[in-house]
Subunit: 161 residues, 2 copies
């Protein structure tokens, strides 16, 4: 169960050792609404096909679709709720790749899949693990809508106090 | 001047030809507040060091910092306001790289720099240009806080009606 964001006394459930190379885990379940698509895009990405269903008819896709930053944030929130908030995470330096493979439309129901591509311990800091993850964000038809590849730092269990 | 997001009759000011290879352009100016950092993170990335200044004292950085997705969204909004909303953009397939180079703290004032790494026309669709951009998001001390590299599609002016 994930910790409440305001709860400072976080119990760590997941360490580096809990993400073995080759592991595939599915998590998350979220319905995307037109209201949310428009609200997010008005703040961060107000291109016509993200904020206006009428204007979107003249766009390439021909209908309202979510901003790519919105779909990325949806994945991030699922990652937080599924494991990050309860983990010994020490952050991520970035993403090596983000691809918006298919549009996300109002009424889509999304979930995520995490694959551990590689796992190794840091040479310079042996208490730290370095994990390479591949994420797929998928819709209700099992189609991947977003792919993200990136490195995460996670403390080792042996190093726990 | 950028078009209003709700204005369907967008006048296109920028085409592929307006982003020549090698060009470097600076744009954007935005103050990041603690309130905005916390509000964004509560929705999308509620890790303790993004939502709670007290809890952040126990983190690696030792203080409240913005979610990497928040800084990415800040760049996206600057891109929209500076040129995307007035351009012949046909979207982007993704980002080849996003790196969070330095933390973004409350009170930081951010601006962006865009470099056109390469520009070529599409072989399969000669009316379309393919642009490779490198973005730096920078703080008030001229330090890069976020780097993004990605490809954008933009219609050519010659192809305009």
């Amino acid at each position: 169960m994930r910790s409440h964001p305001d709860d400072v006394s976080v119990v760590i459930a997941y360490y580096y050792e809990d993400f073995p190379a080759g592991e595939v885990v599915e998590f998350g379940d979220r319905l995307v609404t037109a209201e949310e698509i428009v609200a997010f895009a008005k703040d961060w990405d107000p291109q016509p096909f993200h904020v206006d269903a009428e204007a979107a008819k003249d766009s390439q896709i021909g209908e309202l679709i979510a901003s790519g930053w919105h779909t990325g944030c949806l994945l991030m929130r699922m990652m937080c709720d599924a494991f990050l908030l309860d983990s010994a995470s020490e952050g991520a330096p970035g993403a090596e790749e983000i691809r918006w493979v298919k549009p996300v439309r109002p009424g889509d129901r999304l979930h995520a899949r995490r694959t551990t591509v590689s796992a190794r311990t840091s040479r310079s800091r042996p208490t730290l693990g370095i994990l390479e993850f591949h994420y797929d964000l998928m819709n209700q038809n099992g189609e991947t809508v977003l792919v993200m590849r990136g490195t995460s730092f996670m403390r080792r269990r042996e190093a726990a106090p």
